[in-house]
């Protein structure tokens, strides 16, 4: 089971926060195929947000094929999200790159801006 944390000051739409947090839980393996998502009632009782917002987020996850609603039973995870594990070659490369960036005198914010800009170039138009 996941627990959602809603940040009202983040500027990110509430249903998007639920979608993102569900995906994050899938990536980290906190949610696995067959697991049940909390009911709208359970979510709103914990977060005091609007129930229609929860349903909207679940519909979005369903549209992406990540979960399925089973009538009268609840919403269940259909598939996980693959991600590069911590010791993957991609991570090793990125790690080496970060070392070089630091040696080149870049600060954290510079790296952040650079990384975001490269992400924007290559993943433009993709859904987050």
């Amino acid at each position: 089971m996941v627990e959602y944390r809603i940040d009202r000051r983040s500027g990110v739409a509430t249903y998007v926060q639920i979608v993102q947090q569900t995906k994050q839980a899938l990536r980290l393996g906190l949610l696995e195929p067959g697991d049940k998502l909390p009911t709208a009632r359970e979510v709103v009782e914990a977060t005091a947000i609007n129930p229609n917002t929860v349903l909207k987020a679940y519909r979005e996850l369903e549209r992406e094929g990540l979960v399925e609603a089973r009538r009268g039973l609840g919403t269940f995870v259909r598939r996980g999200l693959n991600t590069a594990p911590a010791d993957s070659p991609l991570r090793t490369e990125l790690d080496a790159w970060a070392v070089r960036a630091r040696e080149a005198g870049l600060e954290r914010d510079d790296v952040d801006a650079l990384f975001t800009s490269v992400l924007d170039t290559h993943f433009k138009g993709d859904e987050s």
Partner: protein, 295 residues
């Protein structure tokens, strides 16, 4: 269940001839199952509107229909909590709930009412007059939700609650809406406390409807733009604009794509409401499917 929770057509209310109207030709439609925020400055007509919907006042002009009936006929199906939470000061908490049960024999749900009271650590034998404002709000909400209403009208419900009680009661309201599809209408002038909880907005100003419709649609219809002060925003509708040096910041309703010279962001509920409050002359916008013309 009825599809429309509240429908108002040219609804007006005057208190005495010398004073201006409290409500002045309000037309809007609230679908059932929504959680609607009624927002506006003091004196905008929020309380008058809720009293009319509850059937405690009669319109001077125009009509208001509640759950497909007149407010008086729908009284059993709705619950109303007034701003001052009127309760009998000499009754105990338990007596007050018993009163609710006996006045609503067909609808009353003890579990709901008792759970709301229990969450607040209220002693059943405490007299209402010994309770704090927040505790009274809790009892009033227990009384309203215990009635299992289809439509819940709350006038400034959270005003005297501490943050924890506010969160608990909002969560209770949302859970009730999730489970039973209850339509909730809440007035407030603190916009932040409604953000996230409401999916429908009715913004009143000087007795008139300024904005009405699903919150997401209303937010999507507006953009916050920043650009050069000498650039033109035509043909877009400008709700509010401010110039600082060479920079112009505005809340607009785009009519087609905005040009390249503008940096745009989506407004928050608070930004949307504040801009409209600062610009009382901005045109009204209704996105609540104006079906009344066809009827």
């Amino acid at each position: 269940m009825t599809e429309t929770a509240i429908e108002a057509a040219a609804l007006s209310k005057r208190f005495g001839r010398r004073r201006g109207p409290a409500l002045d030709g309000c037309t809007f439609r609230l679908p059932a199952g929504r959680v609607c925020a009624v927002v506006g400055p003091n004196g905008a007509g929020k309380s008058t509107l809720l009293s009319l919907a509850a059937g405690l006042l009669r319109p001077t002009d125009g009509t208001i229909t509640v759950l497909g009936q007149t407010p008086a006929a729908a009284r059993e199906r709705l619950a109303y909590v007034a701003q001052d939470k009127p309760l009998h000061p000499q009754l105990t908490v338990a007596d007050t709930l018993r009163l609710g049960r006996e006045l609503n024999p067909r609808r009353w749900d003890d579990r709901v009412a008792e759970r709301i009271v229990a969450e607040g650590d209220l002693a059943p034998d405490a007299k209402i007059r010994t309770l704090s404002g927040g505790q009274r709000t809790r009892v009033a909400l227990a009384l309203a939700l215990g009635k299992r209403p289809e439509l819940l009208l709350l006038d400034e419900p959270m005003a005297d609650l501490d943050p924890l009680a506010r969160h608990q009661l909002m969560a209770t309201l949302m859970a009730d809406a999730a489970e039973h599809g209850t339509t909730v209408v809440m007035s407030s002038h603190v916009v932040a406390e409604l953000d996230g909880a409401c999916d429908h907005l009715l913004l009143l100003g000087a007795g008139r409807v300024r904005l009405a419709g699903p919150l997401d649609d209303l937010l999507a219809a507006h953009k916050l733009v920043t650009g050069r002060a000498d650039a033109s925003l035509a043909p877009h509708t400008v709700v509010e604009s401010r110039t600082t040096g060479r920079q112009l910041t505005a809340l607009v309703r785009p009519d087609g794509p905005l040009g390249d010279g503008w940096q745009t962001t989506a407004p928050t509920l608070e930004e949307l409401v504040l801009a409209h409050l600062r610009a009382p002359e901005a045109p009204a916008l209704r996105l609540d499917t104006p079906q009344e013309a066809a009827v």
